[in-house]
Subunit: 414 residues, 2 copies
Amino acid sequence: MSSPAIKPFEVNGRRYAPPARPVAVICLDGSADEYLNAALTRGRMPNLTKLAVHGHRTMARGALPSFTNVNNASIITGVAPSVHGISGNFFLDPATGAEVMMNSSRYLRAETIAAAAARAGRRVAMVTAKEKLRDILSHGLDGIAFSSEKANQAEEQTHGISNVEKLVGQRTPPIYSAEASLFVLQAGVALIKREAADFVYLSLTDYIQHLHAPEATEALAFYAAIDELLGQLVGLGAVVGATADHGMNAKQMLSGDPNVIYLETFLHKEFGNGVRVILPITDPYVVHHGALGSFAVIHLSDFKMLGPIKERLIEFEEITEVYDRKTAARKLELPPDRIGDLVVMSKRDVVIGRTPEHHDLSALRGGLRSHGGRYEEMVPLIISEPLNAEYVAKAASDPRNFDIFDFVTNGIQS
Amino acid sequence: MSSPAIKPFEVNGRRYAPPARPVAVICLDGSADEYLNAALTRGRMPNLTKLAVHGHRTMARGALPSFTNVNNASIITGVAPSVHGISGNFFLDPATGAEVMMNSSRYLRAETIAAAAARAGRRVAMVTAKEKLRDILSHGLDGIAFSSEKANQAEEQTHGISNVEKLVGQRTPPIYSAEASLFVLQAGVALIKREAADFVYLSLTDYIQHLHAPEATEALAFYAAIDELLGQLVGLGAVVGATADHGMNAKQMLSGDPNVIYLETFLHKEFGNGVRVILPITDPYVVHHGALGSFAVIHLSDFKMLGPIKERLIEFEEITEVYDRKTAARKLELPPDRIGDLVVMSKRDVVIGRTPEHHDLSALRGGLRSHGGRYEEMVPLIISEPLNAEYVAKAASDPRNFDIFDFVTNGIQS
């Protein structure tokens, strides 16, 4: 294989100058730093230990709401949700008044770094765990794109690759498994090893983190397996950058029951039925969180209610922040037309529900761990190689998780 | 020596049932979790590694503003600032209109856990690095209380101990040194070893963290020295709990210059001179931060300005949160009579100044690292022994740094 193109490219106002070596960016879905620390102190992540010391490890600020689609869209475009337009998994479409999934690239308002890299001559591959992400993130990409969830359905014409199971040497895993994520990393290793790709984005799923605390046996085994694959990527000569889309916190009472405030129930009772609560965490993967997260938007039929509802909600001990549309768009970097008239976030251990009927709590095995709010905003940022002076300073300022492609392409010393 | 009293005691609405063994609580001033991680991954904290695995390590939410006095007062009373009354180092006294230091126990509105433990028969010692903390925290304490800053001035009658240098085997260190903190831990070890105390609070200073990033040689050496002393405390049979008062972030531009917004300058220009900005971080230790932190309060001569100023400030990209007095008191758990008409917090890498004339930036050696805002709120929480089931659940909910005495007394298994 000829040496990969090293032509710099520009996308969404930022220039990326990747090294000739393979570049791999990993989104460790739901990886609160506590998960890494629990595994690191137990000696289960020897490769990450080496990377953190030889390269760079710090904390980065994610995009809000601290959800998967929002942050994956930010990582792959390098910009905030106010620019790329993905504000959740689910929203109330102002054009139709319908509540719809945002699982389509037609909602994406910015070009992706992956598509731009491919145009600049890189062999690009994108592997996600969840199929829902593939369509959004692979928009306009001339390269390989498939999910581990539907790996056995990838075809040359539609996915840029076929026979993925053979390539990876694994069967297509069930989405509710550790293997759904490990398959993504194994695919990354195989693609780079076979020289089928030299610029890859690997996005895992947070099934394990929704179910298990950092020090649980299952979580430790998961991170040990991730570490082994991180080592393989570095061993292949790749520059590796890893970050997360969001953190993860237990959202339950000391009894173990979910700690939920049913916002629509409360608002209907106090302010009448002209209030609609939308939970942008809503997605088809209900076992993860039962559509319960620490972020909600509220749509009003009558704007006169805005002030009184805002005043009332900020009084709740469980609620941390309440913003009107304009302020939310500005302070949380959100697209104003894709949020509600009010935006609400809840405490570290509290989730916001709509009404009890809207949520099937029986789907939650072993307690509720979730995300979406301010306390899942900070995530790890790891670069496998030493940073140059400019990016040491950048890493020490207010780096974002969606700067990760910037760090691995522009920030390394060699 | 007879076995220490194991009588449970109650203070500020919470019951504490300490074990008969010595109990040591440490406030690792300014210890953002990144400091521990940088040292841990480099193998510089073998004792902490053991404690984290054998005992419990998680993240806890501190009190806001994320300042030293506020959080030390919370830790030693077990309650939020709204209850204990210490809202900063410095405030505008509504009784006099004067700007004064809050460095006196007369501002403390709650009893301390230390005083209550002594009354229940424990031999209590409190050692702080900064003398400013000693008076506040040792209020009503029948026991030992001194600072490393003035260790050589401790007298039996006023401090419950004399000849501290001899006890510790070290000279009184300069306050601007790593030794100012290490002396505190060495004193704790000596007091427990000599059976002079069995219930100790050890509060360090953040001189090193204000000056050095987590991976700096000086920071690593500091944490290695802390680790050695942690090991000695555990070796003496003590139950050890460690947390921090606040985190620490670089607050500078990529050029290395401090990233300051001069709030009073701006407000005088736009809204006239009836606006006074108070920076509650202000204290005599100017080398640390030049009175620049990520938290400010605003006093208004005319309340008609409140709405327009609030609206204007939330537009600033550098400002994250703006609250009126009532909302700040509720959402940030602050005493309403000891804050301003408005309360303002700034971004992770931004500090709030008053006017350029108010700050001597020349005192800042090697860049500005500071705290005070939302991004220094989360801190480590470490207990040296395994938690019982109730406190495992508590640690996984929304533990506070000021629950640390609760954890070490009520939360351990034996």
